[in-house]
Symmetry: C2
């Protein structure tokens, strides 16, 4: 039994991780500001005495003091983030604050309280538009194309500097998009919501040929936990994704088939769905694979599973 | 004639650039908070009607509004920074604020005022401890080893995201250490100051085998201006340094010879002079070389020139 802190504990990945850690017999201190996190995702955790919730924003260092003081936290899963990659140009300061400055605050709070092990949810978006596919962790030094990627790259840099400067140990995971239960943003969410509003016609951003990789939430959590268990360098960086990719138009095809619909599809055109969108994301995951990790769910299965969950939980669309 | 803004205008590189731009017939709006900048470096500029000084800290966005409003600035040279790389672990928040958040503020201020061209002084330190020497701009994705490098990497990422998201154009220069007139921090400064205090004995951080590259300030400014003139991509990234390197112990030898001293030299030991120090910095500068840039001053000439300037300007040691 260990005690873990999870930032962003009410989010998609955070709440699934909390449930896993609790079911594995650990204690968890969760932190969330509920800006995008959902209290419903913590309903099981909140009834478990091994779970404590600190409600607060990590831009406020008092939140960290409350979460870390006198708790002997063994490791921090720093998952809180502004994950709304497609809206970066509308509010780039939010990425700076929630993804970069908050990461600094978490690191500095950990240092104050003698906690030195951190897991960070980074992103395949930090490769910008790479020239090598599938893209390995040691790809040529990329140029950033999104605020989200830039803000996560800054977070990675800060973590590495704390490892060198203060003896921290880190596991940095560069995720592809994650699918599964409690998925609350991304293309399946958007497509399903649009189809609920109009089952006969759907507009798709870009030309539909954007090619992405996805991973199931359970596989994602398995990968994170395996990396911590098996990798022991001061800085451990892993891509986490699947070997497969799917085009946006094919993902939509799977969604409409599952729903039994046949809408007219209108593509807005262009290689990118939004400014900073990557036309192709495909990560080389052989580094984590060499430790024994294999995703167990295919992209198609993940899409259908996500859709099933959204259909069973229509309340997640409220207020979105 | 153009109008340029220079942040960090009272610093080593900034004030030399201001003088060059003014002598080339341009107008310059300079910004400095005088935390490390020296008013003396602006004495010529301040008597030139083509120069305006805005005194203020760029953490305060009002400073940017004052500098950018109604001035039709063509391009911003964003040189202000906490350049004290060796003290990162003493105050890592300063790097975050002065190098990352300030860069965001500059970009956002430019966007508000319709200015979209930026030059950024980055650093060879962002390569961390690379495996390829000399290190090209497209080196494998590095791991950060210093707060300074991490904070500059974050600045680069933000700039690239503004180029993609808001149509900015940028010239990012990754410098080796710069030498020459108005040099006010770095190993020559430290060695000379120590030798002034005790000509018979000097302590050197590390084992003296740390190998670095240096460049003369005039060459640095030539390179920056040439890049702007010749490179026109949205994001233009250049290493700026010399093809040569020098070991710290040999640089010290040159200094004591020039001063006519023969002190006992005591090495503190270890491959690194401080936490996050790079044992070897040697950049591949062929990309800017292909545009026609060549440093005109050798490292040895640069060291002697710097020492001559420090000897002629003992006032720079006051208060340091």
């Amino acid at each position: 039994m260990s005690r873990f802190m999870v930032t962003g504990c009410a989010g998609f990945i955070g709440s699934n991780l909390v449930d896993r850690l609790l079911s594995d017999g650990h204690e968890v201190v969760g932190v969330d500001n509920f800006s995008t996190g959902r209290r419903e995702f913590l309903s099981a955790a909140l009834s478990n005495p091994a779970f404590s919730l600190i409600e607060g924003d990590l831009m406020d260092t008092v939140t960290l003091d409350m979460a870390l003081a006198d708790r002997s936290v063994a490791l921090v899963f720093h998952l809180s983030a502004n994950a709304d990659i497609s809206h970066g140009t509308k509010n780039p300061r939010r990425d700076l604050e929630q993804n970069t400055i908050v990461t600094y605050n978490v690191l500095d709070g950990m240092r104050s309280h003698g906690v030195r092990r951190i897991v960070f949810s980074s992103t395949g978006s930090i490769y910008g538009e790479p020239e090598v596919f599938p893209t390995p962790e040691y790809a040529p030094f990329p140029i950033q194309t999104s605020y989200y990627g830039a803000s996560k790259l800054a977070g990675e840099g800060l973590i590495c500097a704390f490892c060198e400067g203060f003896g921290f140990q880190s596991w940095i995971y560069r995720f592809v998009s994650v699918l599964g239960e409690r998925y609350t943003h991304g293309h399946i969410f958007d497509f399903y919501r649009k189809l609920l509003a109009d089952p006969d016609r759907i507009e798709v951003l870009g030309d539909g040929d954007q090619t992405k990789s996805y991973m199931y939430i359970g596989d994602c959590i398995d990968g994170m936990l395996l990396g911590i268990e098996k990798a022991s360098a001061p800085v451990n960086i892993f891509n986490l994704g699947t070997d497969a990719t799917i085009k946006v138009r094919n993902s939509l095809g799977l969604i409409v088939d599952t729903l039994g619909l046949s809408p007219e599809v209108v593509y807005t055109g262009g290689k990118r769905g939004w400014v900073g969108d990557s036309p192709l994301i495909h990560l080389d995951c052989s580094r984590i694979g060499a430790l024994g990790w294999q995703p167990r769910m295919s992209i198609d299965e993940g899409v259908v599973c996500t859709l099933d969950w959204l259909r069973a939980n229509p309340w997640v669309f409220e207020g979105s």
